[in-house]
Symmetry: C2
Subunit: 213 residues, 2 copies
C-alpha cells in the first residue's frame, strides 16, 4: 500500500502483547472488511460496533496499528482522541441517550478481544446496567499506601523520560506567566494551522481535480 | 488567578449539564484541595483516585473545566489524552497489572459523579470482576438497522460542521500520496516542535533562575 498509516504493522508492545495485523479492526482499517462507517480522518475511523451492546454503540479506531493504548505514541493518541468529543455528541444526540461511557479495554484481563487499540462509545440510559463497576473504596486512601503506589508510578514515569516538556513551574512567577502566554500562543497557532491546512487541502484538491480531469 | 487555564470556568454543555466549578476535581486543579499527584502538564494532571476501586486506580484530568467529554473542544481532548499511553504504561508496570480499563463516564446515567471531565485508569487482573459489561449482541448488526442509526449519527456530525478538514481522498491518487507525505511532514514537524519547546523551556528556566536568584 502507498499509505504509510494504513495497517502500519507495528509489533512494539510494552505489555508484551503482539500487534495482530490480521485482526478485524486491522482489516477494516485496510479496507479488507466492510464496516458501517460514521466518519474517517487521516488518523482514525469511527464505526458502529458490529455486535453492539446497545443501539448506537460506536467505536473510534486509530488507523495506525498498536495492540494496546500502552503501545501508542502520544501523537497518535492525540490525533485519534481529539475526535472523541464530536463522536460522543453525535451518538448522544442521535440515540437520545442520557449519557455515554467511553471505554478502552487494554489486555485480555481488562476484556480486550481485538488487539488493535479502540475506544467504545456506549450510549446509556438510567438503570440500563450496561456497564458496572466494582464499588469504590469505602474509606479514603490513606497517605502511606497512597505514597507507596504513587512513588512506584512516578518512578516508572521518570525512567521512561519526559513525554512532555511542559511540567508547570511555580504559579505566579514570571516564568509561569511567560509559559501561560506561550500556551495561549500555541493554542492560537494550532487553530490557525488547522484552518490553513484545511485551505491548502481544498486548493490542492481543486488544482488536482482540474489537472487530472 | 493569573493562569488562564486554571479552573477555566465554562458553562457550555451540549448535554445540558452545567460545569460545576466547585467540584472536587475543579478544586484539585486550582490547588484548593490536596491530591496524590502522579504528573502534571500545562493541560492536565494525573492523580490517584482518592477512593480507589483497586490499588493504582488513577485519574487523568484536564485543567480546563468542562462538565463532560461532549463539551470538550478537540484541542483540549488532544492535549490531555496524549498523556494516556504513558499513564497506562506506568500504572501497569508499577502495579504489575495484566491489563487496564480506561474509562470516562459522561452523564449521571453513565455513572459520572464529578462533573469535570476525567478518565479512570483501572488496573486489572484476570477474574477480578472490577468492570463488567452487558453481553454484546448475539447476532451481527443487520444492515438495515445499522444504516438507520448510522445515518442519524452522520447527520449530527454533518450539522455540527467539519471538526477535521482531513477526510481522506481516494487511495492511490496523487492527492492521496501528497497528503500521506504531508502527514509524515506534520508528524516530523510536531516531533521537532516538541523538542525545541523543551529546549526553550529549559533555557528560559535557567535564565530566570540566574536573573531572579
Amino acid at each position: 500500500s502507498s499509505r504509510p498509516w494504513r495497517g502500519w504493522r507495528c509489533t512494539m508492545a510494552s505489555g508484551g502483547i503482539r500487534y495482530d495485523s490480521d485482526s478485524v479492526f486491522a482489516k477494516i482499517v485496510r479496507g479488507e472488511l466492510p464496516c458501517v462507517k460514521l466518519f474517517e480522518t487521516l488518523h482514525a475511523i469511527a464505526i458502529l460496533d458490529a455486535f453492539p451492546m446497545v443501539k448506537g454503540h460506536a467505536l473510534l479506531i486509530p488507523k495506525a496499528g498498536f495492540p494496546t493504548l500502552a503501545d501508542c505514541p502520544p501523537a497518535v493518541a492525540a490525533d485519534v482522541l481529539r475526535e472523541l468529543p464530536r463522536l460522543v455528541r453525535a451518538v448522544m444526540e442521535a440515540t437520545g441517550a442520557e449519557g455515554v461511557n467511553v471505554v478502552s479495554n487494554n489486555g485480555a484481563a481488562a476484556g480486550q478481544e481485538v488487539f488493535h487499540v479502540h475506544f467504545h462509545v456506549i450510549p446509556r440510559s438510567a438503570g440500563d446496567g450496561l456497564v458496572r463497576f466494582a464499588p469504590s473504596a469505602a474509606q479514603m486512601l490513606d497517605s502511606a499506601s497512597a505514597e507507596e503506589v504513587a512513588m512506584a508510578i512516578r518512578e516508572r514515569l521518570a525512567s521512561a523520560g519526559p513525554d512532555d516538556a511542559s511540567a508547570p513551574p511555580v504559579a505566579g512567577t514570571p516564568l509561569a506567566m511567560l509559559l501561560d502566554a506561550h500556551a495561549l500562543v500555541l493554542r492560537l497557532h494550532e487553530f490557525v494551522h488547522r484552518h490553513v491546512d484545511a485551505l491548502v487541502v481544498r486548493v490542492v484538491r481543486a488544482l488536482f481535480g482540474r489537472l487530472l480531469g
